[in-house]
């Protein structure tokens, strides 16, 4: 029998770290029932919250690191509990108060981000290297638009194509844009969700300073994660910039007839709603509109789309934690796409791209389906 000896300090620490929302929970379990983890294994979200309520959190529990912050539970929660905040707060207690050990891969990533400003631990100087062949200038005072590619396309050669396609499109449309290269740091969204609040704060401050010094007023991002934090979290730290995601910006360019999509793509394309574009920011229609503008393209809907979309599994720092085969949401989702008859799975997030590329490889489906960012598809249609 476990004696109820609440670790009152734990309650306070979790509250202080921003997790006070757990007080509203009435333990209905809807979060557990909604959580995509339960499609592949078992993750009782409710229990974690109950533990937080009673001060009985087991900080050693690996479950603490499962949540991909996809937001499906939050959207449904009958009491409006900000479950992601609770997860973040509990992880914070581990990562910064030292209540337990942080998973190795995450610890290394955190160290990389803190020292090099990117999760890969690559040199800052080469952050802008992807742009060399795309003829992208450095952002200076007066440049209209800052393109912030996200660390993944900037450093990962497999995903670099997202940034390059975007730069190509912008050049073609005659947009006055630039990048800040070595002055950019990781946006910090995911490392914050992984509990490293202070790293996030310093990344955010560094970016805000860099943007402000360079006179940035509008930022274009490829990653919904950058979008989310720039738009919803930076303002509290004094960073007020107009933020647009490529899905929105491309649609704007198409509507303003600055882009003419002429090349046909006679394929069936399904679209994966990234959690941070969809549920977190309510952007569902723009990417679909962009895809529909490509001549010949047939857009098909996956089951569980839009608000009900299933996460790729890469949010909340999960992108840096190995997920066992058989437990990957992206595998499930890829199967859904193949079953729906899609020849291309369009994505709008570098994390989705990484996870789905991986699924295609490990499931050996490369012949049947390919993964493309919407910017790539548009670039191909010009």
């Amino acid at each position: 029998m476990q004696a109820l000896t609440p670790y009152k300090d734990a309650i306070d620490i979790v509250k202080e770290a921003g997790g006070e929302a757990f007080e509203q929970c009435y333990q209905c379990g809807l979060c557990s029932g909604t959580c995509p983890w339960n499609l592949v294994t078992s993750f009782i979200v409710r229990r974690l919250i109950h533990q937080a309520q009673l001060g009985l959190v087991d900080f050693e529990d690996d479950d603490l690191w499962l949540c991909a912050t996809c937001g499906a539970c939050v959207a449904r929660c009958p009491r409006g509990v900000e479950i992601i905040d609770i997860m973040r707060a509990m992880r914070n207690v581990v990562a910064e108060v030292g209540a337990a050990k942080v998973p190795d891969s995450l610890r290394i990533t955190a160290k990389n981000i803190a020292s090099a400003g990117n999760p890969q631990g690559e040199a800052r100087e080469i952050r802008g290297n992807w742009a060399e062949e795309s003829k992208v200038k450095t952002f200076t005072e007066g440049t209209e638009l800052l393109y912030f590619s996200c660390c993944v396309p900037a450093y990962d050669p497999k995903v670099r194509r997202i940034a390059q396609a975007t730069a190509g499109i912008l050049n073609k449309a005659g947009v006055d844009f630039g990048i800040l290269g070595a002055k950019e740091s990781c946006c910090g969204e995911s490392i914050r969700k992984a509990g490293n609040e202070s790293i996030f704060q310093s990344l955010a401050n560094s970016n805000i300073q860099a943007f402000t010094e360079s006179g940035v007023s509008k930022v274009l991002v490829s990653s919904p994660h950058c979008y989310h934090t720039f738009k919803n979290e930076y303002p509290a730290l004094g960073g007020n910039f107009e933020v647009v995601h490529t899905a929105q910006y491309l649609l704007e360019l198409i509507r303003d007839q600055k882009l003419k999509l002429t090349k046909e793509l006679n394929k069936k394309v399904a679209y994966q709603d990234p959690c941070y574009l969809g549920r977190h920011n309510g952007i569902y229609d723009e990417p679909r509109e962009v895809l529909r503008s490509i001549p010949g393209l047939e857009l098909i809907e996956l089951p569980d789309s839009r608000e009900e979309s299933i996460c790729c599994g890469g949010g909340g720092g999960r992108i840096w934690i190995e997920t066992k085969k058989g437990e990957r949401f992206s595998d499930l989702r890829l199967e859904q796409a193949i079953e729906a008859g899609a020849e291309i799975l369009a994505v709008a997030c570098p994390y989705c791209m990484l996870n789905f590329d991986d699924s295609v490889l490990t499931m050996d489906k490369g012949e049947i389906i390919e993964i493309r960012d919407i910017s790539e598809l548009v670039w191909g249609a010009i």
Partner: protein, 668 residues
Amino acid sequence: MGGNITAEALDRDERRIGVYICHCGLNIADTVDVEAVANYAGTLNSVAVARDYRFMCSDPGQDLIKNDIKELNLNRVVVASCSPRMHEPTFRKACEAASLNPYLFEMANIREDCSWVHDDREVATQKAKALVRAAVARVYYNDPLEIKEIPFNPDTLVVGGGIAGIQAALEIADSEHKVYLVERDPSIGGHMIQLDKTFPTLDCSQCILTPKMAAVGAHPYIELLSYSEVEEVSGFVGAFKVKVRKKARYVDEDKCTGCGLCQEKCPWTADSEYDVGLSKRKAIYTPFAQAIPNVPVIDRDSCAYFLKGKCRACEKFCETGAIDFEQVDQFIELEVGAIILATGYDAFDPSTISQYGYGIYDNVITGLQFERLSAATGPTGGEIRLKDGRKPESVAIIHCVGSRDQNYHEYCSRVCCMYGLKVAHIVKDKTNADVYEMYIDMRCFGEGYEEFYKRVSEEGVNFIRGKVAKVTDKAVSEEEEGKLVVICEDTLLGSIIRVPVDMVVLCIALEARSDAEEVARKFIISRRADGFFLERHVKLDPVATPSDGVLIAGCCQGPKDIPDTVVQASAAAARVLAMISKGRVTLEASVSHVNEDLCIGCGRCEELCEFHAPKVGIYEKPMPVSRVNEALCKGCGACAVACPTGAISIKHFKPEQILAMVDALAET
């Protein structure tokens, strides 16, 4: 207007104020030096006598006031004691008993506002002096007010013919007072007539309701206006004027014998409202067999004659010539003294919760639809059947659909747990299927409710604690094939479970009527944030509203079960009967007053008054001015604030009175 010297100037030296400081035992005297306060009061302008006494509210205390009024010729009285919310009526009565107009009395609250909340004796005494000084300053300007009464019209309007309206109407009519019962549907009966058995006693809803409906239909003191809606309400308690729209039935009520031939012959159909879409009815129809009145209506939206100009089959077959396609809406003017609103509720539409599959899967039904399936008068004759006619082998009952959920309704709908249990019992009883209740908390608080819960548990119903996440037809195992799979966390097991069933019953919430806002505006009452009508006091006055003479009963005030509805309806009826029995209405004396000389007729008062009391018109002066109907005025003062010229003031809350207090309170 004119060169007269103001009344105040003439008699301003004739104020004789008596001031009484109460010790309230030690409640006040412990903290406040009452003697010092009384001495101080004696020095104030126009104060003729100032005394302190142990308990002013006691009989000897009141006698003190009465005697002084007579012997010392007092014409104003101030008592400094507790809150006016406590004893103002007591002292007003005492003044009245001594032939002093009760509005010439003023109270200073030196207990709740002073002795009970401060501990420094000197500071508290200082503050008590200030409060007494302010009351004396105010009472100087108090005017005697006339307390007016008007006769009360003994006729009553009841809006809504569900169980609440029926109950209220019958109780009033049985005392031989006229009731107009307005029902917007073709028949009275409301939601209750759709129900099968009622929890927890399982008596048949129709069996207990239809005798009451028949009594309404035949009652000499009830005038039933079915298929009618209230258009306009004006007037005030005791003398409301109500305009009712009697919608065209296209059937002459006087000629129709209710034989039903027209319905038999009509070739056109629509979904039955009564059976919640589980069956069809004709374009000319009575909603159900026991309808009161038993006169059909033609539904224009499904009648071929109205849609395409052809058919008139009903007319051909009607032997009494009751069908009248030329009928138009009629307007009836009623005059009543009181109004009871019993407009009921709407059932929550669960299709907005897409993950439950209502409207997608045939065998996901609402609790109300289940009632129809289970009722002998329903489409299956009382057999519990799946859409394809099979008997279900397993049924899931999902609680809290649309309630206790801030995405839909935050409140608890109160009846769902119990009707969920009832559904479980009926399913067990009629099909012996496996039954699963997915609940968050079981709320079985009424008489016999917990016992019923126990009984249903003993019948082998499975209770799963958890809010359902999803209902799907995607099978992942053999036993799920062809079934609906209900997914949720069993929070007591702490694991996710998938329950394959044949039928899912959604315990949908009760919500405010979609037109509740319009109705509230019409009757000048308020609504809570959840949309239901707001009672005057949540605990102590649950049937009254801010509009005097407008009472509420039943689910229009919030979700409730039948016993509670009947109790509230009876209470509303009792309130009406009390007003009828008194026969007069005492009007608020502290009401708005327009100085017509100062009024410029701008109409700001008319525009903003929630109670339609002021009205700009051309009366004696050539220019328009505002006049206030004192019976409608509640004395809230909004008009006085909005008046640009200062023409409007509120009796007993005149600017002189308030400003005198402001100045007196400011002095140190």
